[in-house]
């Protein structure tokens, strides 16, 4: 929702300091805040002389005069100039709003130009016209900053519950709360400007779902086409609404943006047209316009007949409707505001009107002062609560020392439903962030170990890298994993046709990429959810990748992979009944169900995933094994979970065998810490200087180690290794 500061100032007199902070405090996120340009150096001028440029066909020389009779000579390329035309002149040194360019004195084909006559586009107005903006009969003593809004522009995000602030008046009402200099809005006098007959408790012309206000206006135009006032064009442009060539339409859009009501406006006289509109509304076939309203204008410009003006409000909530419903608070002001503009700028005159509004029952809520303090955790006094609510236009109906009863303003009736909502209003009024911090006592619970994390650790210790894919499966991949597919009703792309029934497809896509880019690692694995028929399982899946530059120069074969799988099954204490041979691998069974399998990538899949190398794939259903063996797992966990690592790196001299270093460490160093080599670089060659990564692992911790203790041990190891001629990195 976009608005400018000057626009909201039209409705309330209020203090505007720190407006951005206040918007945030009231729950509106500022998406964009733009300082509009000042219009220093812009002047409204009248063209008093036009002559042709001596050296150019398409340029003309204009002499313009200001209100103070200053004259300027301008070279201009536009074709819509005429003597007596009133236009906007940007003098030398002024900044063009659209481009941000500062205007300089220019010599155009031998003739000096002291400024530029502005087109609508250059001024940031949304009008589609090529020529210079014609101000028509505007008075020359008007300053441009009065004509064009130079206030700050905000774009705020309004949460779904606050449809009442999706209009200018609503924003003004909301941010001025608590900061108003005068009570009441500046437009209250519109309420009774034109007298509308009260047809209360009569079924509205639009049916029971709508409240309406109606006016009939006389056309006094005599065929003349009215021009849209510049300030309306300017404001609609600044909030991004397209400008129509029709003045009436622009004015209706303007009023609609201010109040958020729907209009139906017609000069057709037959009842059937109104009936049609009504049917469209009830049948919901009417599309929302650009402002999210159901406004419709049906004008036959050839007819000079009375204008019928309906303002209507939905009394029910509708999914796509952007604007508030059931808020009848400004119904009379809004229609009178519109009539006033139409009289001023469009040549219509008010004849008569009425309003048909169903009795609205205002919601009443009781609020306990103690509850406010309890829920917020802040010590608001009773008076503070009352001040906040009444400044937000809640009417305090009754009061006791412990509680108050308030009436919810009609525009908040869909949003404020219980005392918690009122508490939220109070908290926001005084700033959510101003609530002091209280600490919550920690309670102790039994620590539950995450098996999946332990499994992850096993595989990374085997040199595999963990990856993370999403749960979707491509339509084409699904051909290979087509047991129990679950189809999405509304995927965004074909990649999301199904939920995955296996982790393998994702891993193979990655494998293909890894091989293509020659990324050298032992393999990749993933732990994630898969969806088969109506069940979801946690799976673990690994793919071993051939490592071309592996120092022992031999890609893993099936049985080496199987060794790792068997190690894993032992590690996780998974007891299986038997193994079954498959065509390209084998399967492990528990309770006669296949639980995991290790296979070689078959030719068809290899072709589909564009993989030329030999790959081995392991897949296990973690839910089945954990369910069966949860108890026996417990013993293994402690020693694997409560572990601290510390990694050190050393530069070792030539011809010092790594094993010798390890032996000495194992002999002389603290036995409770296991020492492991995790990296040797650059090669395995004995005769080259290499850097070696040594990992210290504290296992079976009886008590937590402090960082000092760990530091001390590290230093000890560094000393020991350095004695052997190595260098700590």
């Amino acid at each position: 929702m976009k608005f400018t500061i000057n626009w909201i100032k039209d409705f309330y007199d209020f203090d505007l300091t720190n407006i951005d902070i206040r918007l945030v405090d009231r729950g509106f996120e500022i998406e964009c805040q733009k300082h509009s340009c000042d219009f220093d150096g812009f002047k409204s001028v009248e063209i008093i002389e036009i002559s042709k440029h001596p050296n150019a066909d398409k340029l003309s020389l204009c002499t313009v005069k200001t209100y103070n009779n200053e004259t300027y000579n301008i070279v201009c390329g536009a074709s819509n100039l005429y003597i007596g035309m009133r236009v906007i002149l940007a003098t030398v040194g002024s900044k063009i709003p659209k481009t941000g360019m500062v205007l300089q004195k220019a010599n155009i084909r031998g003739i000096e130009s002291c400024g530029m006559l502005c087109s609508a586009d250059e001024l940031g107005l949304n009008i589609k016209s090529d020529g210079i903006l014609d101000l028509h009969d505007i008075s020359l003593d008007v300053s441009i900053s009065d004509l064009l809004d130079n206030g700050e522009l905000f774009d705020i995000e309004v949460t779904a519950n606050r449809k009442d602030v999706l209009n200018i008046f609503g924003i003004a009402r909301e941010i001025s709360a608590g900061f108003r200099i005068k009570n009441g809005s500046k437009i209250d006098h519109y309420e009774n400007k034109y007298i509308l007959e009260n047809r209360e408790n009569v079924l509205s012309d639009f049916g029971k779902d709508y409240d309406i206000a109606f006016a009939e206006l006389k056309n006094t135009l005599n065929g003349k086409k009215p021009e849209t006032p510049i300030f309306i064009i300017n404001r609609l442009s600044s909030v991004g609404i397209n400008i129509s060539s029709n003045c009436l339409e622009n004015i209706v859009n303007y009023v609609q943006y201010i109040f958020g009501y729907n209009f139906f406006i017609t000069n057709l006289q037959s009842e059937s047209d109104i009936l049609e509109h009504r049917n469209n509304l009830n049948g919901n076939s009417l599309n929302n316009n650009a402002l999210g309203c159901q406004t419709e204008i049906k004008i036959d410009e050839t007819m000079i007949s009375n204008l019928k003006l309906y303002l209507f409000i939905n009394n029910y909530e509708e999914q796509n409707l952007k604007y508030s419903y059931g808020d009848i608070s400004n119904i009379k002001i809004a229609i009178n505001y519109l009539i006033d503009l139409l009289e001023k700028y469009c040549g219509y005159a008010f004849i008569n009107g009425y309003k048909q509004v169903n009795d609205a029952i205002n919601q009443q809520i009781e609020l306990n002062f103690a509850e406010v303090r309890e829920i917020s955790g802040n010590d608001y006094s009773n008076d503070e609560v009352k001040i906040a609510l009444s400044n937000l236009d809640f009417n305090i109906l009754s009061e006791t020392p412990n509680m108050i009863k308030v009436e919810v303003p009609i525009w908040r009736k869909n949003d404020i439903i219980d005392s918690s909502c009122l508490i939220e209003e109070v908290i926001r009024y005084y700033g959510v962030d101003n609530i002091p911090i209280q600490t919550l006592n920690n309670i102790k619970v039994k620590f539950a170990y995450d098996m999946h994390f332990i499994f992850r650790k096993f595989w990374i210790q085997n040199g595999l890298y963990e990856v993370c894919n999403n749960s979707f499966m491509d339509k084409k991949d699904a051909l290979f994993f087509d047991h129990g597919l679950i189809k999405l009703n509304n995927p965004m792309t074909s990649k999301q046709t199904y939920l995955r029934t296996s982790l393998i497809s994702g891993l193979l896509h990655l494998s293909s990429k890894y091989l293509r880019y020659n990324w050298q690692c032992d393999g990749i694995f993933e732990i994630g959810k898969v969806f088969i028929q109506d069940k979801q399982y946690n799976y673990l899946s690994c793919v071993w990748l051939p490592k071309l530059n592996d120092w022992n120069q031999k890609p893993k074969d099936f049985f080496e992979c199987k060794k790792e799988v068997e190690d894993f099954l032992k590690f996780a204490n998974i007891k299986y009944e038997n193994q079954v041979n498959l065509q390209n691998g084998c399967e492990w069974h528990i309770n006669s169900n296949p639980v995991c399998k290790l296979v070689e990538l078959d030719n068809q899949m290899a072709k589909h995933f564009k993989i030329k190398q030999k790959l081995f794939i392991f897949e296990i259903n973690l839910d089945l094994i954990i369910l069966d063996h949860r108890n026996s797992m417990q013993n293994n966990i402690l020693s694997n979970c409560n572990v601290i690592h510390k990694d050190l790196s050393f530069r070792m001299p030539k011809d010092l065998p790594v094993a010798m270093v390890m032996n000495i460490i194992n002999m002389k160093f603290d036995k409770s810490i296991s020492i492991k080599i995790f990296d040797v670089y650059p090669t395995y060659k004995l005769a080259e200087e290499k850097s070696v990564g040594i990992r210290m692992i504290w296992e079976e911790l009886d008590q937590t180690k402090t960082s000092e203790e760990i530091e001390e041990k590290c230093n000890e190891l560094v000393r020991l290794v350095e004695e052997l001629g190595c260098k700590y990195e």
């Binding site: 949460t159 779904a160 519950n161 609530i435 600490t439 539950a448 990374i460 999405l488 969806f531 995790f678």
Partner: protein
């Protein structure tokens, strides 16, 4: 008789030349230079033996002296060879001592922070609960006050599967936990899980993860919520000077609701989570009184913690990236 100076200078030459040898090849050349057939010592021998003026006794003693020089040479020569042998290992000698299975892989950053959060939450007294990813509309929407005509429920924002949805938030777990009536009085529940929304652009993934937590406690208030969140974020980011800011927010299932921003080193505030007091109508349905709930995007806080700038890196799984951002331990 050889002149003593002559003998000494030969000895000195032998010593110098042998010690300046750098490899076997040089050493062999030196050997042939001194004691080869055409070597210096043989030349002496020939020279004196052919001299008929010398007496046989003199010849004998000269032969003895030259033999002594040969021995002298051989002594240095062997010493040098054994020095070479001790020092020099052929370049293709392999260090058989290097352990074979030494490569260690990396965990995905998301797993790391997931595990990290498991630890923090359990330390703070939370119990883990999980729910299905394919969720009934009731748990995902209706029970959370998200009415039938709420925009989130249309086909543009949510994935549907037959009559069910792919859960759009883990808050569904909250309803399941409350409904189960497993917990009484005061308790704390958390969940970490996959959630799905129909968004796929530079800052959104169609599947992401949320951390959901709530407590039912008589001391629950906006004030203790703030204290709790600050505590959690300090632990997660492992910093003591975490600064947070509360802003008003709106969620259909909490009231009052807040959004929480965290301040970063560059002075910028970044929105990080949403929270609030659980709505009375939800709690009273299951017989509970007061509590607060919060939801955090796992991707977002992981990116902040590990300094990741592009959310799509998390699912691209490129090896160089995994090497850089992954880790083999949780410490």
């Amino acid at each position: 008789m050889l002149h003593e100076n002559e003998i000494n200078s030969i000895k000195q030459n032998i010593e110098e030349e042998i010690s300046s040898c750098k490899d076997m090849k040089g050493l062999i050349l030196v050997k042939s230079k001194f004691i080869g057939k055409e070597g210096i010592l043989n030349a002496y021998l020939k020279k004196y033996l052919k001299n008929s003026e010398l007496s046989n006794e003199n010849k004998k003693s000269i032969g003895f002296e030259i033999n002594q020089l040969k021995d002298f040479f051989n002594l240095f020569y062997r010493k040098k060879i054994s020095a070479f042998q001790n020092k020099q290992i052929p370049t293709d000698q392999i260090d058989y001592s290097i352990p074979v299975s030494s490569a260690i892989g990396n965990l995905h950053p998301l797993s790391l922070s997931k595990e990290y959060i498991h630890k923090i939450m359990q330390e703070m007294g939370f119990i883990y609960e999980d729910g299905p990813s394919i969720e009934k509309e009731y748990y995902n929407f209706d029970a959370l006050n998200i009415s039938k005509n709420h925009p989130a429920r249309n086909e543009k924002d949510t994935f549907f599967i037959n009559d069910d949805v792919l859960r759009t938030h883990t808050t569904a777990v909250q309803i399941r936990a409350l409904e189960s009536q497993k917990y009484v009085d005061e308790f704390r529940i958390y969940s970490i899980g996959d959630v799905y929304r129909r968004d796929d652009d530079s800052t959104h993934l169609p599947m992401f993860h949320q951390i959901e937590g709530f407590i039912i406690d008589n001391s629950a208030s906006i004030s203790t919520l703030k204290g709790f969140l600050l505590d959690f974020l300090k632990k997660f980011f492992e910093k003591d000077d975490v600064e947070i800011r509360l802003r008003p927010g709106y969620f259909p299932f909490t009231e009052p609701s807040v959004e929480v921003d965290v301040k970063f080193e560059n002075g910028k505030w970044l929105e990080i989570l949403g929270a609030g007091m659980i709505r009375k109508n939800i709690l009273s349905k299951y017989g509970y009184k007061k509590g607060f709930a919060f939801g955090i995007g796992l991707e977002r806080i992981t990116m902040i913690k590990f300094g990741i700038t592009n959310i799509h890196d998390l699912t691209d799984n490129h090896y160089p990236w995994l090497k850089q951002y992954g880790n083999s331990t949780e410490n």
